[in-house]
Each structure stands twice: as structure tokens, then as C-alpha cells.
Symmetry: C2
Subunit: 399 residues, 2 copies
């Protein structure tokens, strides 16, 4: 088993403990798969108790053998089914949670919360998720390496698509080929998003006017999809010449996501759309010159918006009309909607170790979607582009 290194797990737990103490929390109970994986190295059905001081306790329901093999934590104990005895198990380990205890209020279901209230009457629950999300915002070299591996797969995928995409092919067929390429190279097969009711496939293949269709998704684009039951992604539309084919591709390696977007075309883009693509490229250049530790996310958003306005494209920037969203970038890691958010409301400065996807895009109703999304690592001196693919429109061979 390729497990998360012991040193990673130890540092993450210690850092969480110092955050707990700084907020006056006596401990934390962690339930959600992604957060469990971050602090333990396993997503086997279990509950993690992190006390303010002392060893964390991983209580495992299923699968015991696998959890033991996957985690490097030392205190791993069985948790009988039904969670009935969680308090007893903790007591046996010397812990009696009380006072302010953190739980993930944004992701655990209401019935689990209500159950906890009846079983731990001496606890006052606080939302742990903001702390977790702030901690996970800064990546270790181990984590960055996983995102680089994902970027390597995405680059191979984007380049292979130039030889696969053909006039008359459906969006769905291209999407299927993307899955084949990514899985063959080791994509883990799921894309995780923290936001409630936000769902995604691991690709958007949106051609022509479908690229201008927005949906419930918090994104500049969604596409028609195959059904209102999904309401996004590739559909049965056939690719045509001289129209933009917007391709968003997000895949995971060892849990860590790379998330990138390229504009493809069979032939050439219409002039105004090529100009918008150029503006997207300009925003990336300006970002590379400007961004780095201490620079605020909202300032970076303002810079990008100014570039769009200078090109007279503000009405098309990050969506059109009702579909317009107000961010141009987001953190990536174990989830695709991590901090930081490059948006007006997000007043935090960049810090070394943050990894984010910058995605200036332009939407033209009835015509489609163009743009560039690349992944960046914040370094001590600025930002480093993790994406390996060229920042140009991807030209597909015409027959």
C-alpha cells in the first residue's frame, strides 16, 4: 500500500492541535472521508478523535484490516457498529470529550449531529471546517508532488485529444476518451467537491452554444449535459468547425486534484472569441508577474477584472448574465473547491505552499466559451505554473 508518510500525518495532527488550542477547543471529532484521509491516511469507515493534547484515536468500523494497513497513526481501535459506544471507546482510551469540541458542521448530516448531541451531553459543538480548510490551504511538498502528477496526466490527456477530436463527434464521445486516457494513466476515478449539493463529472466538454449554458454549478460554465437530472457536462451535441470546444479536465492522484481548462478548435476561432482567449492569456501573464506571498486574493481578482474591462469584455467575464460568477480562481487539493478563493470577498494574502487553479474564462451566449485554466503553486518568491500544457488554443487537425 502506498500510504501517506508518517511524518505528514504527524505534522498535520500537531498543527490541528495547535489550531484547536488557539481557538479554545478541547478536541475534535472528524467524520468526513476527505478530512479523515488528510489526518489519518485512510477513508475506511471510522471516526477520528483529536484531543487538544495527546495521541489521536482512530475508531474504525469497517474495514479494520485495511484501515490498519493504510494509516500510520498508532492508536487505532475498533468501533462497534451503530456508533453506539463511541463515548465508551474514547473513555477506554482515556478521553471524555467535553466543553467546546469541533465537528465538521458543513458536511456531516443533520442526523449525525443530532445523534452526537444525545451521546455527548457535555460537549458544546463548534464548526471545525473553517479551521480544517485553512490548514489544508497550505500544501506540503508531498502534496504538491501529487498535484504535479495529476498535472502530468492532464497534459498527456490534452495533447492526446488533439489527435482524437474530429468534426461530427459528440461531446460525450470526447468525454469518454478523456476518462479512458485518465484512468489508464492512474486517475483515481472520483472528483470531490465539498460544497453541499454541488456535483461534478470529471470533465466538461462543451462545444458552441452549450459552453454558454450555466446551471446550478458554481462555475462560469456547465453545459447542457444529457438530462436535467445532471444538468451539466457533455451532451449529444456534435462538434463543428470554427467554434470553441471548451474542455475542463479534473483528475486525482493519491487524492489530489489537478484542474485545468483548455479551448480547442477545429479550424479557427471567430475573431472576437480569439480576442477573449488572448485576454485570458494576458490575465495569466499579469497573474504570474503580480502574484506571490502577501498579495491579496481580492486584489488579484480586481486586476483580472480590470484586464477584462480594458478589453471591453466585462459582460462576458466568468459567465454571462445570470450565469456570471464572481471568482477567477480557487484552491485545489483533496477537494476541488478549497481555499484560497480568488474573489472579491476573500481578503487573505497568498502564502507559500498554496496551490490554486486560475481560470479566467469568457462566455458568449449562442457562441460558446473560451479561456485558460492553469494550476499554480505559491512559492517564496512568486508563483510557479504547475500546468505543463502550452497556454494557446489547442488546434485540432482538420480532415
Amino acid at each position: 500500500v502506498e500510504k501517506v508518510p508518517r511524518s505528514e500525518i504527524r505534522q498535520r495532527i500537531e498543527r490541528l492541535q495547535s489550531l484547536l488550542l488557539s481557538r479554545g477547543l478541547s478536541g475534535a471529532l472528524i467524520f468526513q472521508n476527505v478530512d479523515l484521509y488528510y489526518y489519518t491516511g485512510t477513508i475506511q469507515s471510522s471516526v477520528l478523535f483529536v484531543p487538544g493534547k495527546g495521541d489521536a484515536v482512530l475508531m474504525v468500523q469497517k474495514n479494520w484490516t485495511r484501515a490498519r494497513a493504510e494509516t500510520s497513526l498508532e492508536t487505532v481501535v475498533p468501533l462497534p457498529k451503530g456508533r453506539r459506544s463511541m463515548a465508551d471507546v474514547l473513555r477506554d482510551c482515556g478521553f471524555e470529550p467535553k466543553g467546546k469540541v469541533g465537528i465538521e458542521l458543513d458536511v456531516i448530516p443533520a442526523d449525525l449531529y443530532l445523534w452526537l448531541c444525545t451521546r455527548f451531553e457535555r460537549c458544546a459543538w463548534e464548526d471545525l471546517s473553517p479551521l480544517i480548510r485553512l490548514q489544508r490551504m497550505r500544501k506540503s511538498p508531498y502534496e504538491v508532488e501529487r498535484i504535479r502528477m495529476a498535472a502530468g496526466i492532464l497534459d498527456k490527456g490534452f495533447r492526446a485529444l488533439c489527435g482524437i477530436i474530429r468534426e461530427g463527434m459528440t461531446e460525450l464521445e470526447v468525454d469518454g476518451h478523456m476518462a479512458l486516457i485518465a484512468r489508464r494513466l492512474g486517475h483515481m476515478g472520483i472528483l470531490r467537491m465539498r460544497g453541499w449539493n454541488q456535483e461534478m463529472t470529471y470533465a466538461h466538454v462543451l462545444s458552441g452554444e452549450s459552453g454558454a449554458m450555466s446551471s446550478f454549478l458554481n462555475s462560469a460554465h456547465a453545459g447542457k449535459g444529457t438530462t436535467p437530472a445532471m444538468a451539466q457536462g457533455a451532451g449529444f451535441r456534435r462538434l463543428r468547425r470554427n467554434e470553441p470546444i471548451g474542455i475542463d479536465y479534473a483528475i486525482g492522484v493519491d487524492g489530489y486534484v489537478g484542474d485545468q481548462f483548455r479551448t480547442f478548435v477545429i479550424g479557427a476561432l471567430p475573431g472576437p472569441l480569439q480576442a477573449a482567449h488572448d485576454c485570458s492569456f494576458e490575465i495569466h501573464l499579469r497573474f504570474q508577474e503580480t502574484a506571490g506571498p502577501g498579495v491579496h486574493c481580492d486584489a488579484l481578482y480586481a486586476m483580472a477584472l480590470k484586464e477584462a474591462e480594458r478589453a471591453g469584455l466585462q459582460a462576458h467575464f466568468m459567465g454571462y448574465g445570470e450565469g456570471q460568477v464572481h471568482f477567477i480562481g480557487h484552491g485545489i487539493g483533496l477537494e476541488i473547491d478549497e481555499f484560497p478563493i480568488v474573489a472579491p470577498g476573500f481578503r487573505k494574502p497568498l502564502e507559500p505552499g498554496m496551490v490554486l487553479a486560475l481560470e479566467p474564462k469568457f462566455v458568449f451566449p449562442g457562441e460558446g466559451l473560451v479561456g485558460l485554466e492553469d494550476d499554480y503553486l505559491v512559492t517564496p518568491n512568486g508563483v510557479e505554473r504547475i500546468t505543463l500544457t502550452d497556454q494557446t488554443v489547442m488546434k485540432v487537425l482538420c480532415d
Copy 2:
């Protein structure tokens, strides 16, 4: 837009209203995508209020245009962002929720629950999900037709795989081909599971000993996968001759899932594994003879277990050791873990219109996984097999 027919939506809402009244609930607030889709035809960000009597109100946050086009409900109103004014919006529509009101306690996040408590102080919340799951257990002819379409795609996929699978190919490559086949034919691109923290890819391709690896998943099999961050599904293992290749394939059409499993082999299965496959086939025959309206799910489970015992295979039935699960079938529909559950604890009788996946499987540590999973519709007289694929081991051409 291919929308859910108006008559479907009307009947579903009316049925929910009669269920609400029978349980003494004054109304229901519905949030989760799948439940929203069932009662409205759209998953656009919105909240549905269903009063005990009168027209349901769909309050839409995003995307307004798309929600209007997708739903056939008549009362569709905008819900300003942040949900602050939900009570105001409802008051404008003539409703003031109070008394016992149903919400989906198993899927809505705790913070949404806590927010509702502060905004609707006169409501006593009750868990609506058991009612919704019981209602959704019986499918309309419209819904069954969607599952038949999914079964059609699965049959094409299974048959195509016989020409694709080759010795030395990785599980991941087979998985990728399955995605390509399914997406090309219109698979909606996501597989939804209601259970908290249960996650799935839309295929398991598990060869040899990987088929005997269980995980956190509530399933007889999980496989190694590519990483503990996913802990299931296809991995880098290469397919070999004369070993079982267990393939679980689940895809969706218009939201509705078909979920089937076939055992593939390059060459021939070892004798004991072929015998176990024969037992799986026998269980299907007995099910087809026995099952129908009025027959209880726990009796069907007992029948299957008895067949396994008669073949001396009870230790391998539905998993091995810690990985053993105690069910042999589950409802399918908009989610893959619907009611009924064919399990000891589930004391309900089958009813016409139920659709379920029956999946007797056998697990041999170090050797692999064999079995057959087919989808069945409960008819007035018995059950009808929806699956189109033959109930044999799928033989792959040897080079």
C-alpha cells in the same frame, strides 16, 4: 429539454402530500438534489416547499432560466442568495411553516439544519427521508423505462468488453473503456449513493485477488483501487488467464441507474469458482420462481443463504470474513442504494413497481470474486428480468 412529464410530478407531489397528512406533518422542505429532481424535475439550486394541502412552491437560487425550463411545477419563485429570506418568500406565497415539518435529516448538512432552527422557530423538524425513500421504492412505468434504457447500455457495454479485454491489460484500462462505451451511449456521468460517506466510481473492475479485497464500502467487493484515498475500484493490476475478472457496471439515464455485475474470464474459471458462479445462477433462478408481490425481502435473503449453504459456500457468500455483508439485493432508481433491501432486517413485502438489483456473489481470498447481478422489476404476477445480458460467465477471446 427532455423534462420529467407533468403528470409524473403531479402524482409524486400528491402522493407525498397524502403521506405527510397520514403522519401528521404540516409540510415539507426539500433540499437534496435527487429528492428535488424527483418532485420537481430540476436540480437547479433551489428549495421545494410542499404544504400538506395546496400547490408546492419551488424557490430557486440558481439557475432561474434553467429551473423554469426544466420543472413543470407552476409556482416557481426566485430565492435571493443566502437563504435569508426563505420564510419571507414562503409568506408571500401564503405559507407560514409551523408544527411538524419534514426535512431530509440523513442528507442535509448540520449547518443547514441549525440555520433552519433559527429561521423557522415555530417548526418541529421530523425526518422526511424514510417517507421519501418508501415513496420512491415503487417506480412508475416512466421510471422503469429509464432503467430499461440504462440496462440497454449496460448490455452493449458488457458485450463490447468481450472484444476489448485482453491478457496483460490493466484493470484501469478496462474501466476507462467502460466509461468510453457508456458515455458515448448517453450515460449521464454520475452515480449517486445516498449513504453518508459512501462513494463510488461507476465501475469496479476487479481481477484475481483484488476481487477479494473489501473496504469501507457497503458491498461484497471493493478492490484495491489506485490509492487509499479512494480505496476501491480498478487498479494497476494486469489481467491474467484463468482467473475471475469481476465487473460491476452502474450507469444512469435521465437520473435512473442500472446496476449489474458479470464475471469475465480469459480462458476458464478454476472449478470451485465456476461452481460458485453456478450457485449464483441458481439463486437467480430460485428468485425468479419465488419472488413477487407479497413475498418478504428477508424470506428471499434466507432462500439465497440456504442455496449458498447447500453448496457449502456460506463462508464465501457476499464477501469473506470481515468483508462479508448481509444483503443480496437493493432497490435502484435515482440512487443506487434505494429500498427495498433484500436483507434479514428488511421485513417488507415486495410490491409491483419495485425495481431491484439482485447480486449473489462469492468471494475467495487470494483468488477473486464471481457472481451475477441483474436488475428486476416486480410485476403483478412475479418478477421480470430487466437485464438483457446472458446469465453466463463472459468468455473473452484468448490470443
